[in-house]
Amino acid sequence: MGLFRRAWLTVVSEVAWRIPGRPQRLLAAFALAERGSMLDMLSAVELTERRGLRKLYFRHALDEARHAALFAGRVRSLGAIGRAEAAIEDSGQLVEAGVVAGTTLFERLGEEEFLSFVYVAEADAVEQFEVLLARRLPDPETAATLHRILKDEHFHVSYARTEVERAAAAGRPMRRSMALHRWRRVGQAWLRFSSDFGALMGGFWLGLAYVVGVGPFRLLGRLEPGGWQRPERGGSSLAAARTEG
């Protein structure tokens, strides 16, 4: 998968970086991903049973927080204030982009699986940043930022690898779990794509429903007048309280 992934990343990076406005989007997406990973790491600090790893998780979380701010700063300087602000401040974006869900990674995976996921995800990030730099795509300041961030990412990869290797040496099926995570990440990208596509199709049908189902009743529709009105209510009986309408 290595070569194939690298080729894919190269194509995507080349395309993404050359369309006006796209680099900002990509950097904003990085900022969101870093923020999401900070939340996952803090959850690991909270929940870990391996007290020796706590400090590493904590440092990792602080790194990711810093990266998020660095990326957002770059987006801002490249002239997309709204999006950069949103990437840093609007939590709704984290949910929309699928960066966070109802539970944290640590809660979903447990410690060992979490570590192998961290290894896979961090290695992917390193690869993506390296492709960007190797192709000399970013402007000098963004490149300098990426270099700074890469140093931390290498540290994340290396401590996670140490833990994964330790577990493998103890006979745990780490190779399988890493492969699983790799495929899961591909699967998730596909799911995101297909749900975007589904929304697009759904939007089409709902648009049609709007024209056919809503339009003909236009003359019956009326907005409420302003001012105080007499309320119409179901009251506070138990039967009324139990209904949804």
Partner: protein, 575 residues
């Protein structure tokens, strides 16, 4: 065996869960504090879990789950608005339907799968009734007029109720699309701030301007002779546009919008001054509208007390004016006046209004959320290699001395606050006397716009020496919900917490409800002679208030604060 009622709000704005045990609040918490996503609107699964754990019961012991809205009535409003605004609503209709068909229409089933409560044990409280209940049942008043003002619930955007004993009766309402809350949000967006987040900034910016656009505002928000109002539906577009709350007419009327993130330098930049004037005009129009509604409420429901809730009730400047100029002798505002508070109101309505149980004591403290466990904290600090002292119960005195030395202190103590204000459980504290310290707080952690003032906390006995708080604001000032003049002779001594217009959003601290925070203020007073502190929420920009020790340590490490107090542990800067 006690009865349990679980109130839930969510899916639109701030999600929250509140658990009542025989009508008494066991725990109340907003989902954002757990998920760490500010204003998290997802169903509050973790907050509810926390409430159950605090009570020590499994979910099977919950007698009623009460949701804070009637979803089908809201759906009806959305469909009939789409019909009435055809074809302009072509963009918003598919989006809305996507959400509704996706999950909101199947709410009962979704609540069951999220919380594990069976569908027969559910109630649904109307949105504005949830707000009304959250204010009235928490208040100490047996008879009151209740006024709720927000963006929109099902149909109502403003509602008036009569509260009497355990009963709340509807009196009248203003309906969608006419809405003061949405009017204020539209101006917020025009001024380049995020809706549902930047409203406080408009309020702060208003103090720098003159209300030069009164005339224009009165066209946008028209007060009528019956004590109600309507908005200009040709200028505003929130009823048919999915993202833009106003049409281009707004800019023609009020001038160019402010670009998000523009530095605010009113003395140097005429456009910034123009925007400050727009903010001042919108704020003044909102205050006038609220006073107009409040006078009507007093005429329609003659009672000495007024209870307020709904997002607009978080406008502390409005509340200050209602207390000072309005006809009511007592004002009571739900501290979580926004939609989070709906969870509390919904549960209380079920308990008192539906099940007919008598009223309990009034809400006197917002410390209803998660607590910091001392043993876990000690373990965590050791694991992270932090430098710390265990001061135990002597922490308030030591913190007071740190503050007197000019340190900026993060103070985490006891159960976290219910509602958006930090009230001495998750606070950043500093010396209120010099503007230079406020500047340092801003630089080291808050990074906020200069037009957002910092608030003071003052010991109850000393409050009249510094602030002009009307008698009607006795309870709102306890929860930092109203803004009042700083006495002229005190302003120079409280430079860090006096806003440009000479006011402050003050918190009056009672020794009986907040004993440790009062001791801290006392220690600072002993060292400096000043019983006042700068008190701002302990969070980083764009994040909710810190909740756990891990949150606190991470925020501490990412800021430039001098010292962190964590339930009796004093933590030094980690380098």
């Amino acid at each position: 065996m006690p009865s349990y009622v679980l109130g839930i709000s969510g899916l639109y704005h701030d999600a929250a869960a509140v658990l009542l045990e025989d009508g008494k609040i066991v725990a109340a918490a907003q989902e954002e504090r757990f998920s760490r996503l500010k204003h998290d609107a997802a169903l509050p699964v973790r907050a509810a879990q926390y409430c159950l754990e605090t009570a020590g019961i499994p979910v099977s012991r919950v007698d009623w789950l009460v949701f804070y809205e009637k979803p089908l009535r809201k759906f009806e409003r959305i469909v009939s608005t789409a019909v009435a605004t055809f074809p302009r609503s072509w963009r918003s209709f598919p989006r809305q339907m996507h959400h509704w068909l996706g999950d909101r229409l199947w709410l009962r089933a979704n609540l069951t799968s999220a919380f594990g409560v069976s569908p027969e044990r559910m109630m649904f409280c109307e949105h504005h009734l949830s707000h009304a209940a959250s204010a009235f049942y928490c208040s100490p008043h047996d008879e009151a007029a209740i006024l709720c003002v927000d963006g929109v619930g099902e149909w109502a955007t403003t509602s008036l109720w009569r509260g009497s004993g355990s009963a709340i009766e509807p009196v009248s309402e203003v309906r969608w699309p006419h809405s003061i809350g949405l009017f204020y949000s539209a101006i917020t967006a025009h001024l380049g701030f995020a809706v549902n987040e930047g409203e406080y900034k408009v309020m702060g910016m208003a103090a720098y301007g003159q209300p030069r656009f009164r005339e224009e505002m009165s066209r946008l928000l028209r007060l009528d002779s019956e004590g109600g109002y309507s908005v200009d539906l040709d200028t505003f577009s929130w009823h048919w546009h999915p993202t833009e709350p106003a049409t281009a007419r707004l800019a023609r009327l009020l001038g160019p919008p402010r670009f998000p993130g523009t530095p605010f330098t009113p003395r140097l930049d005429p456009l910034a001054q123009h925007h400050a004037d727009v903010a001042a005009s919108a704020q003044a129009a909102t205050e006038e509208a609220l006073l107009h509604l409040v006078r009507h409420a007093h005429a329609a429901v003659p009672a000495p007390a007024l209870c307020l809730a709904g997002g607009v009730a978080l406008n502390a400047v409005c509340n200050g004016r209602i207390a000072a100029e309005g006809p009511h002798a007592h004002l009571w505002v739900q501290p979580a006046a926004g939609d989070a508070g709906g969870a509390m109101g919904a549960a209380m309505w079920a308990w008192h209004g539906v099940l007919g149980n008598p009223r309990g004591p009034a809400l006197r403290s917002c410390a209803l959320g998660r607590e910091v466990a001392r043993d876990r904290t000690a373990e965590l600090l050791a694991d992270l290699g932090a430098r710390f002292d265990d001061l135990g119960d002597d922490a308030p005195e030591r913190a007071g001395r740190d503050l007197a030395e000019g340190k900026v202190v993060a103070w985490v103590d006891g159960r976290e606050e219910w509602g958006p204000r930090a009230l001495g459980q998750r606070s950043i504290l500093a010396d209120p006397r010099s503007a230079e310290v406020a500047e340092r707080v801003n630089r080291s952690v808050k990074f906020r716009e200069p037009f957002r003032p910092f608030a003071p906390s003052v010991r109850a006995g000393a409050a009249p020496r510094y602030f002009d708080i009307p008698a009607a604001a006795a309870s709102t000032s306890r929860f930092m919900l109203s803004t009042h003049p700083v006495l002229p002779e005190a302003q120079a001594g409280l430079a860090a917490v006096t806003h440009v217009d000479g006011t402050a959003r003050v918190q009056v601290v009672d020794a009986d409800t907040s004993p440790r925070f009062d001791r801290l203020l006392g220690a600072f007073e002993e060292a400096t002679g000043v019983p006042v502190l700068l008190n701002t929420s302990f969070n980083l920009k764009g994040e909710p208030l810190v909740s756990t020790p891990v949150d606190a340590l991470a925020a501490f490490a990412r800021s430039d604060l001098d010292t962190l107090y964590l339930n009796g542990f004093r933590v030094e800067r980690m380098r």
